[in-house]
Amino acid sequence: MTDIGAAEGRDFYRLLVLRRQAILAALAVLLVLSFCADLALGPARYGLGQVVGALISPGSVDDQLRVILWDIRMPVALMAVIVGASLSIAGLQMQTILNNPLASPFTLGISAGAGFGAALALAFGVALFPFAVDYVIPINAFLMAMLTALAIYGLSLRRGVSSETIVLLGIALVFIFNALMSLIQFFASQQAVAAVVFWTMGSLTKATWPKVWISLAILAASVPLLARRGWSLTSMRLGDAKAESMGVNLRTLRLEVLVIVSLLASVSVSFVGTIGFIGLVGPHVARMLLGEDQRFLLPGAALSGALILSVGSILSKIIIPGTVIPIGIVTSIVGIPFFLYLILSRRSQSW
C-alpha cells in the first residue's frame, strides 16, 4: 500500500462526507425557515420575529397570538413536517427493498387502501374497529392500509414474484380500491360523497395534538431501527446477489423494513388523507443530492420530504388568500413539474 494512496482515499471520502453533511445542514435550515413561515402565514399574518418570540417564550406574547400559533397552527405545521418525513422515509425504503424507483406508499396501494377504509366510515359509518368512536376514520384507514401492506408482503413471498410484479400488483390494488370507492360514492349520500372526496384530497387541517404525538412517536421509533440497518439497506441497491454475498439476510431485512414502513405510511395517511407525491419524490430528491449511502440518505429523505410538505402547506394557504387548498392537490400541482425538471435536467443517471 502506498501512503499517498491511503491519504488520497481518506481525503476524498472526508470531502464527500463534509459535502453531504453540509447539504443535510442546509436542508435542516430550510426546514426550520419553512416551518416558521408556515406558522406565520394564515388569515392573520405575523412577522417571523413575532413567531420566533412566541415559540421561545410563549408567556411573553399576547393571548391571541399564542392561541393561534400554539393551538391552531402548530399542530398543522408540525403534522406537515412529521408526515412529510414519514412518507418520504416510507417511500425511500420501499424503493430500496423492492429495488424499484416507482415504489411508494401511493403506488403500492397503501394510500388507496387507507382511502377505502376512510370512505367506509365516512359514507356508511362502518367501523372496522368499533371501540374508539372519535377515531373511526383514521382507524379504518389505518387497518385497510396495513391490510394492503400485508397483502403485498404475502404475495412478495411467493416464489418467482419479482419486484416489478409487486409494483404492478400495487397498481392493480390502487385501481381496485378506487373502483370500490367509486362504488361507495355511488350509493352514498351527497354529503358523504363530499366528505369522501375531501378526505382523499389529503388535508393537514385534520391535524390535532394527539395525532401529532402518535405520528411523531411512530417516526421516532422507526428512524433508529432503519438507521441501524444502514449498511445493509445501502447494499441492497447493488442487487440481491451482491447484497447476499456481503452477508445480508435479505428475507429478514425485507420483512423488518416492510413492517416498519407500512406502519409509518399507514399512520400518516390515515391522519392526513392521500398525499401521493411525497413518498415518491422526497427520496428521489434526497438521492440526487446525497447519493445512495443510507447514513446520509435516510436523514436526507426525511428532511426533503418534511421540507416539501412544509412548503406545500405554506403554498396551500397563500395561493388563494383566505382559502386553504387541500395539500395533496398543491404538492402534486407544484411538485410534479419541479420533479420532472429535476429528472430531465440531470445528465447522469440517478437510479
Binding site: 500500500m1 494512496g5 491511503a6 481518506r10 464527500l16 441497491r237 446477489a241 440517478s350
Partner: protein, 246 residues
C-alpha cells in the same frame, strides 16, 4: 492453514436437484483452485451452497479459520447501477454488520485493496457509469476488502481484457502464496486454468466429474468427455503447459 472440504454436498432449486453428491479432497489455503465446467453445470450454485446461501444435504467443512467470517464470495456481475462511488461501494462491502462509524483502519484497507487491483483512480466514479471490466475489478475489491481466508470468485475475469485477466489471476496467485488464502475461481478459459491454478474441480451436470492437480485434471480425455472438444495439452518452448484446440 485454512482448509475447505465438501462431503457429499447437494443442492436443489424448487425440487430440481442442481448439485448431487459432491465430495472433494481437502483444499488447502495457499493455492488457487479452478472450478471448471460447461454452462449450467452448477458452478454458481456450488458457490452459493459453500457460502451458505443455499441449504442442502452434505456438509461444507471449513477448518483452521481464524476470523469470524472466513469466506468471501464474489458473485457474477448483475448489472445493478446504484448511485455509489467506487470508494463507497468497496467500503460498503467492508462495513456490513459493523457499526455506522467508519474507522481509519477501514479507509486504509479500502485503499490498500483498491491499490492492489489498480483501481485507485476510479474511486470517485459512480459504479453505474463503469464499464463491465471495471465493475468486475470493483467486485473483486469488494470481496478482498472483507479480508477473507477463503475467496470464492464466480467468473471474475469474464469481462476483462487480456492484460487485466492475467493481472488479476497473477495477483490472486500471489495472495494465495503470500497470505495463505484459498481461492476458488470459476473460469471458462482452460488455458488460464492450466497456467494459474494449482488444482481443479470439474463439474458436469451437477456432479463432480474430476478433481486433483491441474495437470492431472485437464487432459484430452476430460476435455473430450466434459466439454466435447478435441484438444491437446502440450508443453511450450518455455516448459509451460498449453491447451491447443484441434
Amino acid at each position: 492453514m485454512v482448509t475447505l472440504r465438501l462431503e457429499d454436498v447437494g443442492a436443489s432449486y424448487g425440487g430440481r436437484e442442481v448439485l448431487v453428491g459432491i465430495s472433494t479432497p481437502v483444499l488447502e489455503g495457499g493455492q488457487v483452485v479452478a472450478l471448471l465446467g460447461p454452462n449450467a453445470a452448477g458452478k454458481s450454485t456450488l458457490f452459493r451452497r459453500i457460502f451458505g446461501l443455499l441449504r442442502g444435504p452434505g456438509s461444507v467443512r471449513i477448518e483452521g479459520a481464524t476470523v469470524p467470517r472466513p469466506v468471501a464470495y464474489m458473485p457474477q456481475d448483475n448489472g445493478a447501477r446504484p448511485v455509489l462511488t467506487v470508494y463507497e461501494a468497496v467500503l460498503l462491502a467492508r462495513m456490513q454488520g459493523r457499526r455506522l462509524k467508519v474507522d481509519p483502519e477501514d479507509h486504509a484497507e479500502v485503499e490498500r485493496v483498491m491499490d492492489l487491483l489498480t483501481i485507485g483512480h476510479l474511486r470517485a466514479r459512480n459504479v453505474g457509469d463503469l464499464s463491465g471490466g471495471q465493475r468486475q475489478m470493483v467486485g473483486a475489491a469488494q470481496a478482498l476488502v472483507q479480508n477473507p481466508q477463503i475467496l470464492l470468485m464466480d467468473e471474475p475475469t469474464s469481462a476483462l481484457d487480456l492484460s487485466r485477466q492475467i493481472g488479476l489471476l497473477t495477483l490472486l496467485r500471489r495472495l494465495a502464496r503470500e497470505q495463505g488464502l484459498l481461492i476458488v475461481v470459476a473460469i471458462h478459459d482452460l488455458g488460464h486454468a492450466l497456467r494459474f491454478a494449482d488444482a481443479c474441480l470439474v463439474i458436469e451436470g451437477g456432479r463432480l466429474a474430476a478433481s486433483g492437480p491441474t495437470s492431472e485434471v485437464i487432459t484430452p480425455a476430460m476435455l473430450r468427455r466434459v466439454f466435447d472438444v478435441d484438444a491437446r495439452v502440450e508443453e511450450c518452448s518455455r516448459g509451460k503447459l498449453q491447451l491447443i484446440v484441434d
